[in-house]
């Protein structure tokens, strides 16, 4: 079943600098889409459009449409704050809030009016378990999240997103600052999460895209060069530019 459809989508920042041009792709439910591409290729911009984080920027313009379950996310019928609850986001650097581990995970649910210790306890445990962090922190939920290691902090950020029970999870180079072991743990968590969520992961690491994604997309200078099944893209890419990138001749 189709979860997200991006149709003829274009986006320009203030001053008319075009970040995305005529993007067409769709993401199925319970699928992981890996978005690859060098810097300035527009991949993070697309992610930030999908949960309307770009709303805060002045002077932007866009074309085409993005639908979530068939509804245009930029139309008036979708409230951006509600959209962001349904479409969670994990950033490239882990950003734990300066609070306890527990309060970090409970932050989202509290924003949306969840009250009551028992309910919050459940959500916190659920989030941390899903992000494969529970066993490491269950005895020190009250300590500051800033004391966790980088890899743990990033899984905490995933847990924080999951505590809202989103439908889609966007990850913007979630492993860019992490060591291989931390990266492996996050990839493990992702493959577990696939059964429940739709995931879009932006990565600079082509090997990571090959490992975790079902479908892959290659962006270059705001253009979607190639999009298809990961296996196909990594074995028989249709576009020479994709071939150059994944084989390491460029990028």
């Amino acid at each position: 079943m189709e979860k997200i459809r991006v149709k003829g989508f274009g986006f320009a920042y203030q001053g008319g600098s075009v970040a995305l041009e005529n993007i067409n792709l769709s993401v199925m439910r319970n699928e992981i889409l890996g978005i690859m591409g060098p810097a300035q290729s527009g991949k993070s911009t697309l992610l930030r459009c999908l949960n309307r984080m770009v709303d805060a920027l002045p002077g932007t313009s866009r074309k085409g449409s993005i639908t979530l379950d068939g509804a245009d996310i930029f139309s008036g019928e979708i409230d951006p704050d509600d959209l962001r609850r349904r479409v969670g986001m994990v950033f490239d650097v882990p950003v734990p809030l300066p609070r306890s581990i527990y309060e970090n995970v409970a932050y989202g649910p509290k924003l949306h009016g969840v009250r009551g210790r028992k309910k919050l306890d459940e959500l916190v445990e659920f989030g941390l378990r899903s992000a494969i962090l529970w066993d490491e922190v269950k005895d020190r939920l009250g300590t500051s999240a800033l004391r966790l290691s980088g890899g743990q902090q990033q899984r905490l950020c995933i847990a924080r997103t999951l505590a809202l029970d989103p439908e889609v999870i966007l990850l913007d180079e979630p492993c860019s600052g992490l060591d291989p072991i931390s990266t492996l743990k996050i990839e493990e968590a992702l493959s577990e999460l696939k059964s429940k969520y739709t995931i879009i992961i932006v990565t600079n690491n082509t090997k990571q895209a090959a490992r975790v994604s079902d479908k892959a997309a290659y962006f270059l200078m705001g253009e979607l060069v190639e999009y298809g099944r990961t296996k196909q893209i990594f074995t028989v890419p249709r576009d020479r530019r994709t071939d150059d990138y994944i084989s390491g001749r460029f990028g």
């Binding site: 949960n51 984080m53 805060a56 002045p58 704050d81 509600d82 959209l83 962001r84 609850r85 969670g88 986001m89 950033f91 650097v93 950003v95 809030l97 300066p98 609070r99 932050y107 989202g108 924003l111 949306h112 500051s144 800033l146 950020c157 924080r160 997103t161 809202l164």
Partner: protein, 279 residues
């Protein structure tokens, strides 16, 4: 051209900087010790707990402590919400435009107005026009105007210093702008905001010109915000200029200095605790 040996010039610079620092500190230490040496003999429980006798030549400063606290509390109760609110608006709710620059410029100008002129303004506006008379309220309102720029600027700086990515996290979790402000921005900016408030407390306690015009110099203990009251600084000024009771004046000065030092120490301690809690 004489070329100094690099090692020697490093030493020289270090020595100059150390001396400058030592000079700065010693001025502060000198003033504080001088006032305390002169004032402490007068400063006792009786001095702190009784009213003035013979226009302050005898007795104590209790009513003036009360007036000072009242006026400071009134001033900050007004200036804090106004200043922090303005700072939140300027930083979180609007983009940098001509209008925000005008607001900022106006605040800077307000900061540059001599306090005696603010006192005159307060006298005309609050005491005469609004018929509040010489009162704690008139004085507090005038001081609120005086410290407003400080509170706006320190709050703005503290708010800007909160990392943008924390706001992004809150927004990405579906937080509204106001939720993000109250749950992420303000807690992060709190130490800076508290510092601004404490600086303002110090200025309110020490201010003379603006309050002598607006709160008057009544000797009694004010019982409401509509009563006139004499602050410690005003009392010190009157003792020093209109009487020969210099001992009492130094006693008052010592009380003022001790109050300000205590407030600063408390502020630092509080900030330290808040920072530890949030990081």
């Amino acid at each position: 051209m004489i070329r100094l040996d690099p090692a020697l010039s490093q030493k020289l610079v270090r020595w100059v900087l150390v001396s400058l620092t030592a000079l700065t500190v010693s001025i502060l230490v000198f003033i504080i010790t001088y006032v305390l040496l002169k004032g402490l003999p007068v400063l006792g429980w009786e001095f702190l707990s009784t009213g003035a006798v013979d226009a302050g030549r005898g007795g104590g400063i209790f009513p003036f402590i009360v007036s000072t606290v009242f006026i400071t509390v009134v001033a900050l109760a007004i200036a804090t919400p106004l200043g922090v609110g303005t700072a939140i608006y300027l930083t979180e709710y609007t983009r940098e435009t001509a209008a925000t620059r005008v607001v900022r410029f106006a605040a800077e100008c307000l900061a540059g107005i001599p306090s005696i002129i603010l006192g005159l303004f307060g006298f005309i506006t609050f005491v005469l026009f609004l018929k509040l008379g010489w009162s704690i309220l008139s004085g507090g309102l005038t001081l609120a105007i005086m410290v407003l720029p400080t509170i706006i600027r320190t709050s703005e700086e503290a708010i800007i210093a909160v990392p943008q990515n924390r706001r992004d996290v809150s927004t990405s979790l579906g937080g509204t702008r106001w939720q993000t402000v109250t749950r992420v921005v303000l807690p992060g900016a709190l130490p800076g905001i508290v510092t601004g408030i404490m600086l303002s407390v110090g200025r309110c306690i020490g201010e003379t010109a603006a309050v002598i015009f607006t709160a008057g110099s009544a000797l009694g203990t004010p019982t409401s915000i509509f009563a006139s009251g004499r602050t410690l600084a005003v009392h010190f000024y009157i003792l020093a200029t209109e009487t020969d009771a210099f001992g009492m004046a130094y006693g008052t000065a010592a009380a003022l200095i001790i109050a300000i030092l205590t407030i600063n120490t408390l502020a630092y301690w509080m900030m330290h605790r808040i920072m530890r809690k949030y990081s």
